[in-house]
């Protein structure tokens, strides 16, 4: 049983069971595989690599009949789901498909319908700040791109949607987006028109 104060858990006085429990905890807490060196650092480098290796293989053995397994991959050790539980895990992803945040979706919508727009334009419509992170997420997904600058003081960057955005939506052109309503007035997608600047 671990004591209530982690300070009491001195690496040199750890019992094998405590050592394994800490290893388990740390491995689950890490979003990436953990190397032996990192694990040694976690214990203040007072553990021999030999003892660590033995504890890791004992821990792997403890999990032998469970739904997860402790494996070593190129970057280090990690817990992963076993193949035969994949159907359940997969249903989890179907049930919870990854989603972009409301902020990302709203930003994309404004760019799609009002392009070309500056960050200021988007903020004006959304009423809140648009972080660089949001723009980067959409750029990395390949749905928006920069398209020059508006010729006003500060020369803010203009954003437009990409061909890939249309492909991913199965559309042939931006005109095929359904019209929106804005306080009774229809909002039609604005085909990119650089001359308007």
């Amino acid at each position: 049983m671990p004591s209530d104060h982690a300070g009491d858990l001195q690496a040199d006085s750890l019992k094998p069971e405590e050592l394994k429990m800490i290893l388990e905890t740390v491995l689950f807490a890490s979003p990436v595989p953990v190397s032996l060196n990192t694990l040694r650092a976690v214990f203040g480098e007072e553990l021999s690599t030999e003892l660590l290796r033995r504890s890791l293989s004992e821990l792997a053995e403890d999990w032998r009949d469970r739904g997860l397994e402790l494996v070593m991959v190129a970057e280090g050790w990690r817990f992963q789901t076993r193949t035969r539980y994949q159907p359940y895990v997969q249903r989890l992803s179907l049930e919870n498909p990854p989603k972009y945040s409301r902020a990302v979706m709203e930003t994309l919508t404004v760019i799609a319908y009002k392009q070309p727009v500056t960050r200021g334009d988007i903020e004006e419509i959304r009423g809140v700040g648009v972080s660089t992170q949001i723009i980067r997420t959409l750029e990395q997904r390949g749905w928006i791109q920069g398209s020059g600058h508006r010729n006003v003081p500060g020369r803010p960057a203009l954003y437009v949607t990409t061909l890939q955005f249309l492909n991913d939506l199965n559309l042939r052109s931006i005109d095929e987006l359904p019209p929106l309503a804005e306080s009774g007035n229809p909002v039609l997608p604005n085909p990119v028109n650089a001359e308007l600047l």
């Binding site: 689950f28 992963q80 409301r102 979706m105 959304r126 003081p153 939506l169 309503a181």
Partner: protein, 271 residues
């Protein structure tokens, strides 16, 4: 009971006459050269007032305004000398304290006496002090709750078949996002009576025109206060833009002397 709220002052920061100060003084007297150090520990005038009230065992429900105002003004005086950028909020509070103090000096008129204790000029100050005190305590409690990343980590295992699932997109997502945005704006901008669009471009042309023929023009003469703040802001932006494009020169002989503008040489005959 609540002293822990005040952050410990770093000894390295607070050295007064060779002596390191590690906590706020308990007595009424605070060495003047140490005041500035204490001030950086406060989150604003309400925070400072609460501190004064607590340290000097004043009753927040029956504040001796003269005493509190006097002590508060000592701090403000130091602030004015050393932390000018902070002073505005503190000055506003000083004005308020003085107003309350002076209203308490006036003999009560019969109407006021009828209006029960609600008419205590200190009521609003007390309300704000108590409300802030509540938030300050709650912030400390909130800070103490176990927090992801600081006190614990979320456990995770990797899915064995690593398919990097990216969010997918359909047109309905865009429609939904639009609806949410529209819902946030129940009636679009109903009370902006007549919104005038001021063009920086137009202002730039106007400035260039007024500089035509004249060698120098005074900066102040461009900033016509009767046209209101938006006009002045746009004019100012236009000036900056013109200066950036090197269309005009801006000169000032010494700080606070008049600023003069004129067309730069290569633009002198643009019109």
């Amino acid at each position: 009971m609540n002293d822990a709220v005040y952050p410990a002052i770093s000894p390295a920061l607070a050295k007064v006459r060779g002596q390191a100060l590690t906590e706020l003084p308990a007595g009424l007297y605070i060495p003047p050269d140490a005041l500035a150090v204490y001030l950086s520990a406060f989150e604003g005038p309400l925070d400072l007032l609460l501190y004064l009230i607590r340290r000097h065992h004043l009753d927040v429900l029956d504040i001796p305004m003269a005493e509190l105002t006097r002590q508060y003004m000592e701090y403000v005086a130091v602030m004015l000398r050393q932390k000018l950028e902070l002073a505005a909020e503190y000055m506003l509070m000083a004005v308020w304290l003085m107003e309350i103090k002076s209203r308490m000096l006036l003999p009560p008129t019969p109407e006021v006496e009828e209006a029960e204790e609600d008419s205590d000029p200190r009521a609003d100050l007390v309300r704000r002090l108590l409300e802030y005190e509540q938030i300050r305590q709650a912030a400390q409690t909130l800070d103490g709750l176990p927090r992801c990343g600081r006190d614990y980590a979320v456990a995770c295992a990797i899915q064995e078949t690593e398919k990097k699932l990216l969010p997918r997109l359909c047109v309905e997502d865009l429609l939904n996002a639009w609806e949410v945005m529209q819902a946030r704006i129940p009636v679009r901008q109903p009370h902006i009576p007549a919104r005038k669009t001021l063009s920086v471009r137009a202002a730039m042309e106007q400035i260039l025109r007024s500089l035509q023929g004249d060698f120098f023009i005074e900066f102040d003469s461009l900033m016509m206060p009767e046209h209101g703040l938006p006009h002045r802001v746009v004019k100012f932006l236009a000036l900056l833009e013109l200066a950036r494009e090197q269309k005009l020169e801006i000169m000032q002989n010494q700080p606070f002397s008049p600023i003069y503008l004129r067309l730069s040489d290569r633009n002198a005959n643009a019109f």
